[in-house]
Amino acid sequence: MSALEQMYQQVILDHAKHPHGRGLAGSADPAAGHLAGESHQVNPTCGDEITLRVDVSDGADGRTVSGVSWEGQGCSISQASASVMTELVTGRGLDEVAHLDAVFHDLMASRGKGLGDDDVEDALGDAAAFTGVSQYPARIKCALLGWAALKDSLARSGALAA
């Protein structure tokens, strides 16, 4: 596989074409027992944008991401990454989400080498397919745009506060 094909894996192209979570859902006013946050992120070099909303259920056994929806325009990498992330984090506890975020950032810093740990990469699911992107420094920002929006919207929702 060429470096280009490693970046544009079929899963990535599929997600870009049929993204999960696309179309803002819910509202900024959460239901009882929920927290909600919204974030707008731009990649100033290419004008890519994403607006992402997160809904967190604030249950007795902890806080869980109960919904992610987003709207945006951008390249196939940024769109696919937001889609994969939506699938990956929905239904997960905030600790798990923070861990996945850290692992995905490590993957993006791996310069195409991956994390060298199958278990860790398995946990990323489709997001592991982005290893090829990390060979292209200019594209890493694209892959991280959705993750940045998720982190910021979680912070804005107040869910990260004790």
């Binding site: 290419c46 004008g47 890519d48 951008g74």
Partner: protein, 440 residues
């Protein structure tokens, strides 16, 4: 369409000779970087010259030679090196001035076009704050005065004017663009009015390659006594430009887009305007008499050149200007006109849409485009895999992109060293992009 009629004023001398294949090969051999390979051994096809050009050996050598033989502080020091350095520095100014039809003392060194445009905007701001005495009266802005730009501007010729308006209470107005991205002069009389004090516009768009109607805009500005500021970044490297003949008051351009080094560029100002204009950056080298209480300033251009200048780079810019002069800017323009004709043919590729004029009349060899169903970044990546370097994004012209209803485009741009074969290779690679992403 012939290849030369649109780049020369009517009634001009006979058409310049095209570059022969041997001449073009010799030109290319002068640019070491063009010989390298990229992405696993592919020959480089560099189509990003509108962002920055490559540099010929003479420019690289001029900088090294300056550091090896002449390096010293200019305009001070009583030693031979200082003399030689000053001579090289001022000789470069003369070369750049001659290259754009200006007088030597009308060329101010600046770090680049962005800095040069900001210099004018801040000088007007300083005049408005009362600096420069009676002579600077003509630069003073009052609330309600208007500054006119166009929707096609590079951010470098837009944001400084927005800021000047915010500081002075002047009002920003602008010309819109038509469907081809050309400045729409339909309501020129309503845009440039008695309230207009400055008309700032780009000579050639770095997005569409469209050449602005300079004569019309200068005439309209003059009728109301407004200053004209020309962003000549994308014209000076590609066309014969005579600033006196164009009749603009100020012009800005960067060395790095005209085969010269980064870190240097020029502000042109009509002599009487530079003489009346208050300084912006202050400090060493731009003064006459300094006391603890106050300072009088040197005449231009030194008044605008505070601090140690980018001497080696300026010398390189002078050499770049002479290199282009020797080849002949009319011949450069003719060559690039042929390249423009090859570039616009990407519109024949299914799914490719040009942003900007589809013809080669009054347009240079830069094309921006979108590929239906494929984001510009992804287009650029596939081209890059074939060794073809293009730019993607908004090219520092968000309002122009917004007017076309797109957030990003890909852009291919040529320079004197670009060949038709390279553009054919680019078109071929571009033809395969939609298939790669399965959107055919």
């Amino acid at each position: 369409m012939t290849t030369t009629d649109t780049v020369r004023p009517t009634g001009a001398a006979p058409a310049p000779a095209a570059l022969t294949a041997a001449e073009l090969a010799a030109v290319r051999a002068d640019f070491p970087l063009l010989g390298r390979t990229v992405r696993g051994g592919r020959p480089l096809v560099y189509l990003d010259s509108a962002a920055t050009s490559q540099k010929p050996n003479v420019v690289l050598e001029a900088e090294v030679d300056f550091y090896e033989q002449r390096n010293a502080a200019v305009h001070r020091g009583a030693h031979q090196l200082a003399e030689e350095a000053t001579e090289a520095f001022e000789d470069a100014r003369a070369a750049v001035a001659a290259f754009v039809g200006a007088d030597e003392d009308e060329i101010v060194w600046a770090p680049g076009a962005t800095a040069a445009l900001n210099l004018v905007a801040y000088a007007l701001g300083n005049a408005t704050a009362g600096r420069g005495g009676a002579a600077a009266e003509r630069f003073r802005l009052a609330p309600g005065d208007e500054i006119v730009v166009t929707e096609a501007e590079h951010h470098a010729n837009l944001v400084p004017w927005q800021e000047l308006c915010a500081r002075t209470g002047a009002v920003l107005r602008w010309f819109g663009v038509d469907g081809d991205g050309r400045i729409d002069l339909t309501d020129a009389g309503a845009v440039i009015t008695d309230r207009t004090r400055v008309v700032a516009f780009g000579h050639v768009s770095n997005v569409t390659g469209a050449v602005a109607p300079v004569a019309e805009l200068v005439a309209a500005a003059r009728r109301v006594g407004a200053l004209t500021v020309l962003d000549a970044c994308q014209s000076v490297p590609h066309l014969p430009v005579d600033l006196h003949a164009l009749g603009v008051d100020f012009a800005a351009f960067s060395a790095h887009k005209m085969l010269g080094p980064t870190g240097v560029g020029a502000l042109y100002g009509r002599r009487e305007l530079l003489e009346a204009m208050p300084p912006v950056t202050t400090g060493g080298s731009m003064v006459e008499v300094v006391t603890m209480a106050e300072t009088t300033y040197a005449p231009p251009p030194q008044r605008f050149e505070a601090g140690t200048q980018m001497v080696a780079q300026a010398v390189g810019m002078g050499v770049a200007a002479r290199w282009l002069d020797e080849l002949g800017m009319d011949r450069v323009a003719r060559h690039e006109h042929e390249l423009a004709a090859e570039l616009v043919r990407i519109a024949e590729i299914p799914g490719v849409r040009l942003i900007g004029p589809a013809d080669t009349h009054d347009r240079l060899a830069v094309v921006s485009f979108v590929v239906d169903g494929v984001h510009a970044h992804d287009v650029g990546q596939v081209l890059d895999d074939r060794g073809i370097a293009v730019r993607v994004g908004h090219h520092c012209a968000q309002p122009l992109h917004r007017s076309f209803g797109v957030a990003a485009t890909a852009r291919a741009s040529a320079s004197v060293y670009t060949t038709v074969d390279e553009i054919v290779a680019f078109r071929e690679a571009l033809s395969g992009v939609r298939a790669f992403f399965g959107v055919e």
